[in-house]
């Protein structure tokens, strides 16, 4: 699995959650990569609370930068557990710059050694960060693996972002054996548009009713030719414009009789003043 993830180098982002942890997958991938493993222990005392004087120069960021210079010939895999710790202790911009420098192929070396193939595996805990840092790291990554699952079965949603290629997306089901080897259990490439399930036919809701919802042809014609009362069409515009010139179509003739009192102040004659 590591070859398919890291085939083109660059940053491989492993996004996990509280529900589906990703550290064991990271360990399994490290096991696949490790022909020669160099371990930098930043876990025991990263903030130098023991005051032993062995503080790392420049802290974690310095170690990251130093890693790039130390890489020997041949393909190199750098695993970071975890990027979340780095994001919580370093500014996001500094981390992104360091990751970008780590993962891009080196074209500025002075000697004539061949370009190295550097793959960076980073574990990121999704819930701990806001959208900004997550999107920034996501845009740096060539491959993004999001862990989830159903029931007891874990799955990895893999998104490949190759330059000048289309985005490809697939789901890989897997389990991790006690010796941290990966047991791949099938994959399903996601299609770009979800196809409707051929087994379920679209149900016509107008069948099996006790009343008739269908229109005959004549009724359809009448319906289509109907003008809506509040819709402003050209005919209505003409009718409004011609009102002043033509004869009124309806008038009211009023002849008051003896009992009518045209009192404008009290037309209903019900005020008791």
């Amino acid at each position: 699995m590591l070859e398919s993830l890291s085939g083109h180098g660059g940053l491989v982002l492993l996004r996990d959650s509280v529900e589906w942890e990703g550290r064991s997958l990271l360990k399994a991938l490290i096991r696949q990569a490790a022909l020669r493993l160099v371990y930098h222990d930043l876990f025991q005392d990263p903030l130098n609370w023991s005051n032993t004087g062995e503080a790392l120069p420049g802290g974690a960021l310095g170690v990251l930068r130093a890693m790039r210079r130390r890489a020997g010939p041949g393909p190199v895999t750098i695993a970071l557990d975890s990027l979340s710790w780095l994001l919580l202790h370093l500014p996001c911009t500094a981390l992104c710059q360091a990751l970008h420098a780590l993962s891009r192929q080196d074209s500025h070396r002075d000697d004539s050694s061949p370009v190295e193939h550097v793959c960076v595996l980073g574990l990121l805990h999704e819930e701990l960060h806001g959208r900004g840092p997550l999107e920034a790291l996501s845009s740096l990554a060539q491959t993004e693996v999001t862990l989830s699952g159903t029931g007891g079965q874990a799955s990895a949603h893999i998104l490949y972002r190759r330059p000048q290629h289309r985005l490809t997306h697939k789901i890989q089901w897997f389990s991790i054996l006690p010796d941290f080897s990966l047991d791949l259990q099938g994959e399903s490439p996601l299609k770009s548009q979800p196809h409707p399930d051929p087994r379920t036919h679209p149900v016509d809701p107008t069948t099996h009713l006790t009343f008739n919802l269908h229109l005959s042809e004549k009724e359809k014609e009448v319906k289509d030719s109907l003008t809506l009362p509040f819709q402003f069409s050209s005919e209505k515009q003409q009718a409004l414009l011609c009102r002043g010139l033509g004869q009124p179509t309806s008038r009211i003739f009023y002849e008051p009789d003896a009992y009518d009192d045209l009192d404008q102040e009290d037309p209903d004659d019900d005020l008791d003043i």
Partner: protein, 265 residues
């Protein structure tokens, strides 16, 4: 300790698993019964326990402990239990002379500092070669609870760093265990609390989440307990995530499957 909870977690005082961080969290209910369970569990397992108690006094835990069959006074006298009474220590940290480093020294600082003095207290308490350390099984750190540190002004990052450092020392170097309680506020606006809860969840091997019932309080079912094992190999035949409902009684807690309370059946 509650025998039914031991059965659920497949744990026993005879064989406590080393090097684990167990996170207890509660949402809309009081999860302190889990703290009492683990306190009595590890005392019965003959472990050296450092208890950072920030919420209640010593006598409170002692009274509950006696109902569960352990005496905290006796444990403290024979050196098995190191108890930091946070309520007293907080007051002391204001009135102690300069030059001494009380564990809760960060309370005196105007800006949120680090919890390094508290870590040093824990480290000294669980030192393998220290006085009274001989004869005990692996060390255990118990914290009740971490959300109080947030309320007292420590930042979520500082608390996460403290737990990280304790984990490195207690779980990895000394092969001991850590159990910590944290409150889930359920309020999306409280970013520090959410960050602390999620950060701790990612560091832990086992998460026990006690929740109140969604439909309200009930006399016969006090809440729901969700157990999540954050490992690819959960205890066999259990699955990685279980949910039970519980009822707290005077000296025990009974657990049952959802909807299967004896009062309902």
């Amino acid at each position: 300790m509650f025998p039914e909870l031991n059965n659920l977690l497949d744990a026993s005082p005879d064989r406590p698993e080393p090097g684990k961080l167990t996170l207890l969290c509660d949402a809309k209910t009081d999860g302190s019964f889990l703290v009492h369970h683990f306190l009595s569990f590890y005392l019965k397992a003959n472990c050296k326990v450092c208890f950072v108690a920030l919420v209640q006094s010593f006598s409170h835990y002692n009274i509950v402990g006696q109902k569960l069959g352990v005496s905290l006074t006796a444990a403290r006298e024979r050196g098995q239990l190191v108890f930091l009474e946070g309520l007293r220590s907080a007051v002391d940290s204001f009135f102690r002379a300069e030059g001494e480093a009380p564990p809760l020294r960060f309370l005196r600082e105007a800006t949120a500092g680090s919890l390094q003095p508290l870590f040093q207290f824990v480290r000294d308490a669980l030192e393998p070669g220290g006085p009274g350390a001989a004869g005990w099984a692996r060390p255990v750190l118990l914290v009740d609870d971490l959300s109080v540190l947030l309320s007292l002004g420590a930042g979520a990052g500082a608390v996460l760093d403290f737990v990280h450092r304790c984990r490195a020392r207690v779980c990895c170097q000394l092969q001991g265990n850590i159990v910590a309680l944290v409150h889930a506020s359920g309020d999306a606006e409280d970013e520090e609390s959410e960050l602390l809860l999620n950060g701790l969840s990612h560091q832990s091997h086992l998460v026990l989440r006690a929740e109140g019932l969604a439909t309200g309080s009930c006399r016969d079912v006090h809440g729901q307990l969700r157990v999540l094992w954050r490992t690819p190999w959960p205890p066999a035949a259990r699955g990685r995530s279980l949910t039970f409902q519980y009822k707290i009684q005077d000296k025990s807690v009974s657990f049952f499957a959802k909807g299967m309370s004896p009062a309902v059946l």
